[in-house]
Amino acid sequence: MTGLVISDLRLRIGQADILNGVSLGILGGEITGLAGESGSGKTMTGLVLCGLQPAGAVVTGRVEFTDSDRSIPNLLALQPREFNRLRGRRIAMVAQDPVASLHPMLTIGTQLTDHVRHHLRLSKQQATARAVELLERVQVPTPETALRRYPHQFSGGQLQRIAIAIAIACEPAVLIADEPTTALDVTVQAGILRLLRELRDDLGLAIILISHDLGVMSAIADTIAVMRYGTVIEQGSRQQVIQQPQTEYARELIAALPQVPPPGITTDAGGQPHPDAQPHPDAQPHPGVQPHPGNHPHSTRTGA
């Protein structure tokens, strides 16, 4: 069975304990949500799983990794070179800010193919074919053209799709998505969430979804782990954690959310087509794809 088993993961930088014994099981074909407020250690947990903890961090504990053809008893014991062979190929990551996490001076094509060629030893043509396939998979329009473009020519939602394409390019077993929709507008968010769920279903990925947004968790996570002070204080199925939180902290988190009756659009049922049936605004050819002199490089960050 594909997945990760984290036991008693601790991380310390200088005098500060960032993680205080995280234990968590992550299964293939499931989306595991890591919820918590800033400083709870959820992002650091994700980084450790990729072996990308900051230099000088002391990590202890055990992370067991299993996929279809092998099992690694402890990722933390791997040599950097060995971890590097795993990273991007078996364990991939999608970061919060798609604008910042793509190199502004390299084409999408380069950034989408270089690790594919490195890990899978594909030729340039094969890698490009694979890239086109991937962009189609994540519903980026006109993939051939997109490969020749640079990040600033895309909107934030498109970039996040591209970032996901990069992450799944080598068919990893585990995908760590760190706040994948936080930097995006709410109307774009749904498309990304749907894409993640499709990937789970189609590729049998074990997805770790790191988010502070319980609404997002509720939308796609299969299990949810609530983190606080560098440890998991509550873990359970989606319904259980959201509807019957066990710990006081989790209850408070949920209670603090705006108390909303379902918005009008769902009650306004009748003959209205369900919005799901409409093409996603995000999936349409986007004006940002056109060269646009007034286009600011950071055009998709929220707020000013």
Binding site: L52, N84, D114, H115, Q153, H292, H296
Partner: protein, 370 residues
């Protein structure tokens, strides 16, 4: 020459949200971002060039020493007729603004006046001196780029470890050594004591300079196939290059370390690492690529400061380049020559920076494509 953006609070993403605002700009050639960018940079450079001519002019007119005594010999200066003729010939009896336009007009015809010291046209003197300095400066900058960026990269990647500390210490010492002293010390050690390197000058006395093509002896000797002369020129280059390289490398290490550290902290580097790319691929494909713009800028600055920074070194090594020429011209208040040097170095500085801006424009797709 800075790339500072003027408006930081403009609401971003506005264009993104306005589907109708995408305009077809391809029809107009000048409307292409890269062309417009280069056009604007070129215009700024031209204005600066004009400014440099004004500065040189004002400066040399502010100097409270009459160029008459500087120009004329002991006897001639005491002869009123000679003085009057000189004043008239040099146009010194006209108003300053007229003198400036006369100067500018001559400048456009490549006439920088006649050096008071050497009595040659300044253009000719500069033509002699400049290749010497250019040869030295190019040699230094090439070595410094390789060493400076290499060491800067190592220091940044190994931040706070021993090698970083060591590189930083050495680079700081590099920018702390008084060049004039270092030049003498290097000369003393390698020539006087060890006799590893030849003495001052650009060639051994017995050697004949190669036929002039570029004026740089190393290049010209290779062009004419004089291999011994080439070796001779290279060995003469060694010590002054060493002297200047220490400072320039120190400067570039410090800067590239900062620039690379800056990039190392970028999300896209972490993203590249998360892809499991080989370390070298991440470093050279992503990190160096990302820090190229600020590094290019500093290389331009370094080259500019090298051209004038050779003054003290050239003194010690009797290099016969711009530095030595500038020193003699300034102390003798040989105004046409000083103006010439100032103008030449200023122009090269501005042109170098313009070229770097253009390169930057082509390297960065955000500028190139808009």
């Amino acid at each position: 020459m800075s790339h500072s953006s003027s408006s930081q609070h403009a609401e971003p993403a506005v264009a993104d949200a306005l589907p109708g605002s995408a305009r077809s700009t391809r029809t107009s050639w000048f409307a292409r971002p890269v062309v417009r960018y280069i056009g604007i940079r070129g215009l700024v450079s031209a204005v600066l060039l004009l400014g440099v001519t004004i500065v040189t002019f004002i400066l040399t007119n502010l100097v409270p020493v009459s160029p008459i005594t500087a120009a004329l010999g002991e006897q001639a200066a005491s002869d009123p007729a000679t003085v009057a003729k000189f004043v008239h010939d040099a146009g010194l009896d006209k108003p300053a603004i007229v003198q400036y336009f006369v100067y500018l007009g001559k400048l456009l015809h490549g006439d920088l006046g006649t050096s008071i010291q050497t009595r040659n046209p300044v253009t000719q003197d500069l033509g002699q001196a400049f290749p010497a300095t250019a040869e030295l400066a190019l040699c230094v900058i090439l070595i410094s780029i390789i060493l400076g960026l290499g060491l800067g990269l190592i220091a940044a990647v190994r931040k706070d470890r021993f090698s970083d500390q060591l590189i930083r210490m050495v680079s700081l010492i590099g920018i702390s050594v008084p060049t004039f002293w270092l030049a003498a010390a290097i000369y003393f050690l390698f020539f006087f004591v060890l006799r590893w390197a030849p003495g001052s000058g650009r060639l051994s006395p017995a050697a004949t300079p190669p036929p002039r093509v570029t004026g740089m002896y190393t290049v010209d000797s290779l062009l004419s196939g004089q291999f011994t002369t080439f070796l001779d020129a290279v060995t003469h280059l060694a010590l002054p290059t060493l002297t200047l390289t220490l400072f320039t490398v120190g400067m570039l290490v410090r800067f590239s370390r900062t620039a690379i550290l800056d990039v190392l902290n970028q999300d896209y580097v972490r993203a590249a690492r998360a892809k499991g790319l080989a370390t070298n691929r991440v470093l050279f494909g992503y990190v160096v690529r990302g820090s190229i713009a600020p590094i290019l800028t500093i290389v331009g600055l370094a080259f500019g400061s090298l051209l004038s920074g050779t003054v003290l070194t050239e003194q010690v090594f009797a290099w016969g380049g711009l530095g030595q020429y500038a020193y003699r011209a300034s102390t003798a208040l040989d105004l046409p020559s000083v103006m010439g040097v100032g103008l030449l170095v200023g122009a090269i500085y501005i042109i170098t920076n313009f070229i770097i801006d253009v390169v930057y424009g082509f390297v960065d797709p955000r500028v190139r494509i808009g």
